[in-house]
């Protein structure tokens, strides 16, 4: 049974995905060291880090719809394992890792731009930030990702309690800013951002439909089940001691 096998090997899958996320960065490091980044090295560095960050953000955003879809599919094929939302918790546990990798690539993207394009000059950076909307949009998106990365630890989840989920809804406006940033840097006549835009529309559209009650999120009354510790299948929400 596929669902059962995936559930049993959740930790191994986590490691495979984690190493996979590191591949673009390692590839860039390898190409930089070998000076084979191509005719425009800075462009290569900025494009790869930016596109990887954007892709990982979409991957992280696709976990919830994917889990809903997987549960629905398991019920349709009358699978013994995988009908419950909690059967797919291994998928949810990957989300933090994807989100943190996304932040790491976004940070590298901004750092490379600051170092090699702006020449590490703060006054130039400020002048361009104020003047160029695409830079401001990208910077706001990065600043928006920062609290999500900082509060990704388990202790922060416990500390924030129910506010944690609220705070992490910040990812929705951030994802819109990321795509806006990508469209704004694109030269006229280029359509490279279309696939990512379509995917984001589907992912955000799913949440809109769920919140509008048009489709039922698997298992629950439309409220997403927060991430749990490995082995925790109780279905209880994580709560800080003393909270409701």
């Amino acid at each position: 049974m596929l669902a059962a096998w995936l559930d049993a090997h959740g930790r191994a899958l986590w490691w495979v995905a984690c190493v996979g996320c590191a591949v673009p960065g390692l590839w860039l490091a390898f190409c930089t060291a070998g000076q084979v980044l191509g005719p425009n090295p800075l462009e290569s560095l900025l494009h790869v880090t930016g596109e990887t960050a954007r892709t990982l953000l979409l991957v992280a955003l696709s976990i919830t719809p994917l889990r809903d879809a997987a549960g629905w599919l398991s019920r349709r094929v009358r699978s013994r394992h995988g009908k419950r939302l909690s059967d797919w918790n291994w998928l949810v546990r990957m989300r933090r890792m994807f989100g943190l990798w996304c932040f790491a690539y976004a940070f590298a993207h901004a750092a490379l731009f600051f170092e090699f394009d702006l020449g590490r000059d703060l006054s130039v950076a400020w002048a361009e930030l104020v003047e160029k909307p695409y830079l401001m949009v990208g910077a706001i998106a990065l600043v928006g990702l920062l609290p999500l990365a900082v509060t990704s630890t388990r202790s922060m989840m416990v500390l924030l309690g129910r506010h944690w989920a609220l705070l992490h809804r910040l990812v929705y406006p951030v994802s819109l800013l990321v795509l806006a940033h990508e469209w704004m840097t694109m030269k006229a006549g280029s359509w490279d951002a279309v696939p990512a835009t379509l995917v984001l529309c589907i992912l955000l559209g799913h949440r809109l439909l769920v919140s509008a009650g048009r489709i039922r999120a698997a298992g629950h009354d439309g409220v997403e089940v927060p991430e749990r510790l490995p082995g925790d299948r109780s279905g209880q929400e994580l709560r800080a001691p003393g909270t409701r």
Binding site: G38, N40, L42, D117, E131, M184, A188, G189
Partner: protein, 326 residues
């Protein structure tokens, strides 16, 4: 000759030092030759000088020799051929700069003719194989700055465009020069895809810009025939303007009285202007033009005003607002 004394001399009519020296050499040469014998290029130049409002008094033409500093790029090796021919903006094939090298090999570049017509006394059609015999061949190493923010140094070979235009003898009504690139969707795959640009690609210059000795018609690169992805068999190179003003695979040059509607201006008028002069102080609406990526270098460098050719061409634009010159 064409330095007339007027009480209200405009700054655009004043010539830079190097031009003055060239003219003095010329005057000396014609004095030796009896004074009445003018070089053919000068004759056509004199005709091109008319009562037009675009400042055609400033037309230089091929009679003026360029200083060595404008024909080479000092203190910098040319960009490797593999990079110049592997990183190309050529929408007729693709908007992917790394894909153009492969896709452009489908282009048939022979037979090929270039037609010069419009406001000329002598319309002509020249076979690509006759260009060298008619106009000679020389080397020019120029900086090329793309509007996207990257740049390179390319050793072109070819001839001054003024030689070809001079042969057609522009009339006094010729105020602009329009270049039309090849339209052949059967070989140019990008022309089959509905995109932002209208085909054929059109670019244009003011007549004094087109006649300027810096403006070059390139048929070769690194001493070999021009690679297809770089605009074979003939492209225009205008080194003080952004790369989109240097059209590739030219088939027709038309001299006109009204400013032509050029491809990028038509496609995105808010982002591309007619002049397209390199200027670090005038930003593209979306990104800064203050710095550029020299191909092969990781760290950006400052962009030079008029791409470093201000000593030669700044006088063409004296009195005009720099913001309109993008």
């Amino acid at each position: 000759m064409f330095l007339r004394r007027r009480p209200d001399v405009r700054a655009s009519e004043l010539s830079p030092e190097w031009v003055m020296q060239g003219r003095r050499r010329l005057v000396g040469a014609s004095a030796i030759g009896g004074g009445a014998l003018l070089l053919p290029g000068v004759a056509s130049l004199a005709r091109a000088v008319g009562p037009s409002s675009t400042g055609t008094e400033g037309i230089l033409g091929c009679s003026v020799a360029l200083p060595e500093s404008a024909r080479t790029v000092a203190g910098e090796a040319p960009t490797p051929l593999a990079d110049i021919s592997g990183y190309n903006n050529y929408y007729e094939f693709s908007s992917d700069k790394r894909a153009v090298r492969v896709l452009a090999q489908a282009l048939t570049v022979s037979p090929w003719t270039i037609t010069v017509d419009g406001e000329v006394e002598q319309p002509l059609t020249v076979d690509i194989d006759d260009l060298q015999r008619l106009f000679g061949s020389e080397e020019r190493t120029y900086r090329l700055r793309c509007v996207e923010g990257w740049s390179l140094v390319a050793p072109w070979s070819g001839f001054g465009l003024c030689r070809l235009l001079g042969r057609a003898r522009p009339t006094s009504r010729a105020r602009f020069v329009e270049f039309t690139s090849l339209h052949r969707p059967s070989e140019m795959i990008g022309q089959r895809v509905a995109g932002g640009l209208q085909w054929p690609y059109r670019e244009a210059l003011r007549i004094d810009e087109a006649m300027h000795p810096l403006t070059f018609a390139a048929t070769g690169l690194y001493g070999a025939p021009l690679p297809r992805q770089n605009g074979a068999p003939l492209r225009i190179v205008v080194p003080w303007k952004y790369g989109f003003k240097s059209p590739k695979a030219i088939t027709r040059i038309r001299l006109v009285n009204e400013r032509p509607r050029t491809s990028w201006v038509a496609a995105a008028p808010s982002e591309y202007g007619f002049y397209g002069n390199v200027n670090p102080d005038v930003a593209h609406p979306r990104w800064s033009q203050a710095r550029e990526n020299r191909i092969g270098e990781l760290r950006k460098r400052p962009t030079l005003f008029l791409n470093g050719y201000a000593a030669q061409v700044a006088s063409l634009y004296a009195g005009l607002d720099p913001a309109t010159l993008f």
